[in-house]
């Protein structure tokens, strides 16, 4: 299977949950569809959703919840 690495579109802090007391958007192993929200990136106190541009199986995250990310950094792997 082809593994594709999706990069962070913008820099900031990566969140896997909509808020600290809520479950994660996606778990590794989940099947995701184009348009699904995979996480949030907080850039200068604004929260931007990370929206999947294509579907597949989310293989793994490269960035942990609340960790910093730069634009272009590997964010997650997708099995198409």
């Amino acid at each position: 299977m082809a593994l594709k690495t999706i990069q962070a579109p913008i820099p900031g802090t990566f969140y896997r949950k909509p808020s600290p007391d809520q479950p994660v958007f996606k778990e590794p192993g989940d099947i995701i569809a184009a348009g699904d929200t995979v996480g949030l990136i907080e850039v200068m106190k604004s929260f931007m959703p990370v929206v999947a541009e294509e579907g597949g199986k989310l293989a793994a995250f490269h960035i942990e919840n609340e960790d910093p990310v730069m634009a272009g950094d590997p964010l997650y792997d997708l099995e198409a």
Binding site: I10, P11, G12, V43, M44, K45, S46, P68
Partner: protein, 452 residues
């Protein structure tokens, strides 16, 4: 005991401002930095730098234990919290003091009391400072609502007890409207917040945001007059002035005297700001809250009074008494500050972190630029978007705005998109020039395409 070494528990332009004030007093500076801030201007200027944790503020600048430990280990004898982060955290202030260090700010109990809106409101009432007339809690029945609204005076605002940030607000101009809106507002609040509870408050249609700067040494308190910060977007100030040109001299004196009464009643220590809403139609002012720290917009006050507020904070924290008598605080001219943020006004104020590849800063008489920028600096995406503050002074408000417009033409930040175009447009807008604005004016202006 005068401070010998100061730990700066903040970042950005305010850290730079604090380091400069400390230097003038011969105080050694130790700058806290997160892993993302090693290259910031304050880190370059400070005598020493201590890394306090990862980029995310909750693990660095907001971690009370880590910050206190770092301050102690650095050999500092005082901590300046700046604004934001832990600056109004009473527990942090107490921890600093328990560790045997000086907290540059008010006593922890003052921060705690003023940080609680209900307590602050009650203390204001006790000091004879007017607050926005309201229901003092939930309104239980339509009869009670009518009775309270009559006391408050129409129009009244109907607010959801569980709401916030302007959500769930309705305005009733008459008793008939109140009767119609209460059930509607209650069911909507129930649906939105799971709680149908409502309270009432006087509605001020064209409210202006006016705030009084105070300075206390724990015994005596003086004011350094007021600022107006009515130009706001999403409750964030974007343009600030001193003094508030809309106030009649008698109102100014009454307003500033009320702020001193309240600050004195709590034995205020350090620099603080009392925020008010001003109703230009009735000439009434109402206390909203007190900020127990230095504020972003403090330079406009410095420009019109000649007082160095940050230096005064450090002197007071070191045990000095107020060096200025109230009668020596004299207003001179007018000052305007605009916030230069890394945001794109043409794209809904989208954040725009990046590298400042080139920088040209306006200079000349009456111009000051307080900034965190230098050429080649990579503005990190993890913190707020304030890059700097352009502050101008003029002998009159009109002269200050002319100077502002000219200074904005000289300001060039390459590599980053900034809010400078917003301020260029505001500086030539007829309503801004006439001072005919209120706290909701800017958002309406933006919606009407003021920028295009």
């Amino acid at each position: 005991m005068a401070i010998k070494a100061l730990f700066i528990a903040n970042r950005g332009e305010i850290a730079v401002r604090i380091i400069r004030a400390a230097r003038e007093l011969g105080i050694r500076t130790v700058q806290a930095v997160s892993a993302a801030d090693r290259d910031m201007l304050a880190a370059r200027l400070a005598d020493a730098v201590v890394e306090v944790g990862p980029a995310h503020a909750s693990k660095s600048y907001l971690d009370k234990t880590v910050m206190v430990q770092a301050a102690v280990a650095s050999g500092a004898d005082a901590v300046h919290p700046g604004y934001g982060f832990l600056s109004e955290n009473a527990d942090f202030a107490a921890m600093v003091e328990e560790a045997g260090l000086i907290f540059v700010g008010p006593r922890p109990q003052t921060i705690r009391a003023m940080g609680d809106k209900a307590t602050a409101r009650a203390m204001a009432a006790k000091a004879g400072v007017p607050t926005v007339p309201g229901s003092e809690g939930r309104v239980e029945t339509p009869d009670e609502a009518r009775r309270i609204a009559r006391d408050i005076g129409y129009p009244v605002m109907i607010k959801a007890s569980a709401g916030g940030g302007g959500r769930g607000i309705r305005v009733a101009a008459t008793e008939a409207e109140l009767d119609a809106l209460i059930p509607q507002a209650s069911s909507e609040a129930k649906a939105a917040f799971g709680d149908g509870g409502l309270y009432l408050e006087r509605f001020i249609g064209r409210a202006r945001h006016i705030e009084v700067q105070v300075l206390g040494d724990g015994d005596d308190v003086i004011h350094a007059y007021e600022r107006e910060c009515s130009l706001q977007r999403r409750r964030q100030k974007v343009w600030e002035e001193a003094p508030a040109a809309c106030l009649a001299p008698a109102v100014r004196e009454a307003l500033c005297a009320s702020a001193v009464r309240l600050a004195r009643s709590v034995g205020y220590r350090g620099a603080g700001t009392l925020e008010y809403l001003y109703d230009p139609e009735t000439g009434e002012f109402f206390f909203i809250e007190m900020n127990t720290r230095i504020q972003v917009e403090h330079p406009v006050t410095e420009m019109v009074t000649g007082i160095d507020l940050v230096r005064a904070m450090l002197e007071i924290a070191g045990g000095a008494k107020l060096a200025i008598a109230q009668s020596d605080v004299v207003l001179n001219g007018h000052a305007v500050e605009v916030r230069i943020n890394a945001e794109n006004p043409a794209k809904g104020f989208m954040p725009s972190p990046g590298v400042a590849t080139a920088l040209a800063v306006p200079e000349g008489a009456g111009i000051r630029f307080d900034t965190m920028l230098y050429e080649g600096y990579a503005v990190p995406p993890f913190y707020d978007s304030l890059l700097g503050k352009l502050i101008v002074w003029g002998e009159s408000r009109a002269a200050a705005i002319v100077r502002l417009a000219a200074a904005l033409e000289e300001l060039h930040v390459e590599g980053l998109v900034t809010t400078a175009p917003l301020h260029r447009a505001l500086a030539r807008d007829a309503a801004v020039l006439a001072g005919d604005v209120h706290t909701r004016w800017l958002e309406g202006w933006l919606e009407r395409g003021g920028l295009s």
